[in-house]
Amino acid sequence: MQLRIWNRNVLVNWGVPIAAVFLALVVGAFFLGLAGANPLVAYRSMFYEALGTRYGLTETVVKAVPLLLVGLGICIAFRTGMINIGAEGQMIIGAITGTAFALSFPGLPAPLLILFSFLAGFVGGALYGFIPGILKAHLNVNEILTTVMLNSVALQLQFLLLRGLMMDPQERAYGTGYPQSASIVEAARLSRLIPRARIHSGVFIAIILAVIVFVLLWKTTIGYRMRAVGKNYDAAVYGGIRVKRYLVLSMVLAGGLAGLAGTIEVVGVHYRLLDGVSAGYGFSGIVAALFGQLHPLGTIPSAFFFGALLFGAERLQRSVGVPSAMVHVIQGLVVVFVVSSDYLTKRFLQKRVDVGFKRLRQEGVAAPEELPLQGRSHE
């Protein structure tokens, strides 16, 4: 009996969002058709490119790494009730600080250099997350708006640095002026896992962090308190939790993880800071986390799936001539469908609770009249 309920709930919890993504792809097919492509051919080529070839598979993982890291931060922030849309900006700042460290101390031994570069990236992103966190906690400033604004600021800051202070001296010497930094030394780079592919050891770091975030959120007091704040703010206040502290902490951690994603893109993939290092991962990571049920471990397969989607969509341009903006269309649809489907899941679970109480009442057992189900997640 116990097992059956569990199974059914798991089925609903995962089945509904998967169905939602499927529906989003169906609606996406309509736009692919409008774009003059055969949707089936386009989707097949998308997933074949991303999952069916050795190169595609490795690139999918390369894209999944920042998605996972950003997604983990989103899990923490959203679970604490902070809708952090600023991962893109936090990632840029993390990429800047991480690169700056790696460029400033090229003489350090490799393990230290990498470790401290990561630390610098984490701190940079964390500080950038701290701003909206503290503004929300103490002045009740809407964090969605501040994070969106900070994204734009970070982007300009990156341009500013790449055209000035951090521009590759060679670019300046040759007068080409391409907005990118000098490349980091060999010692600062993450090792590549297989020859002729960009897949790097950052994958393991991301997966280990997913486990750590899971433990943090579900096996520690801090995590419990953060989730309590997110689930019911007033009850958390009443329960004596210092809610402001946890609101800020969640943003600091979320920013830090996004910053780490920025650094990993530099030390694992590009080996230098360049224009567009964040590449929209800050937004896609939100989508990945939502699809992963805002669960750190669920975000692992979800990040992989969206990595495939991103890479496949990039290839659409070449394979079937559909502009890569298509990936935004699909992502937007996925968010809209997944967030909407939440209600169906909730209603289903509520119905089960109602039926259970009805039976209890029939059997003459006292049961509460009404028990509105709390949000399964992010509310």
């Binding site: 503004l135 604004m149 734009s152 937007g332």
Partner: protein, 313 residues
Amino acid sequence: MSEFFQATVLLGLLTAGVRLATPFLFAGLGEMLSQRSGVLNLGVEGIMLIGAFVSFFVAFESGNLYLGLLAAILAGAFMGLLTAFVSVTMKAVQGISGIGIHILGLGLSGLFFRLTMGSISTMRGFPRLAIPILKDIPVLGRVLFNQNWMVYAALLLVPISWAVIYKTTFGLKVRSVGENPHAADSLGISVTRVRYICVVIGSIMASIAGAFLTIGQHEAAFVNNIAAGRGFIAVALVYFAKWNPLGVLAGAFLFSMIDAFQLRIQIIDIGIPYEIPVMLPYIVTIVVLALSTRGRVLGPTALTKPFVRGVHT
């Protein structure tokens, strides 16, 4: 630097400021209506992008600017229905679903721009329409009464919104649905219908704001991501305005003047990198938000809370 403060320059700055306030007014007043009914429409930026592209595309192909505007209105209504369906009927978390709508709008406008036009084309937008007599008032005449008709329409919408919200039955319904949907429901007001209407009207206005960015300009053109965060600033503006149309007017001018100012320092070279003035509006938005939430005025009580009969949240 000294020429910067000359009268003619200042006059130009003010004129540009009034013009640039238009998209903030359309989108901000629309967002205010939506929020007054209890729905946070965060997709404004994406809807603006769609409005900007659709209006320009239709106007460019047909040669008729009004047809372009009509297309933007239809597209805005469609996006509004989608937004309302997601946040009212499906009771989605509005902060997140709005971001979904934004990404969708960004994608759709970018995708169809690449597919249909591909490169940047330009055309003449709505011409200036000087208002007789009024245009001859010194300073004010040039700044206020020598703009195109969309600017006048946006300014007229301020008193109209005020009257609708505070002086009509519909406005009363909207406010009651946003403050206490359960009470409104018990009085026979359809919370769902009121919210749908407000979200759709708000989205149409956002789409018109987008259209202004293309066909409302003297030299109309569409480029990717043309809204550049103005939609989000419009949402921020509603908080700053404390959900009051006159506040929206003040906020729209504050931000449009900053916008005009930063565009101006980008053009005249005063020795600072252009990224710094570009950052200015965003930073000011954050500062203004931080300062404006200090007061005791809170927004509509039911803002972002989906309505379920019998379940009080």
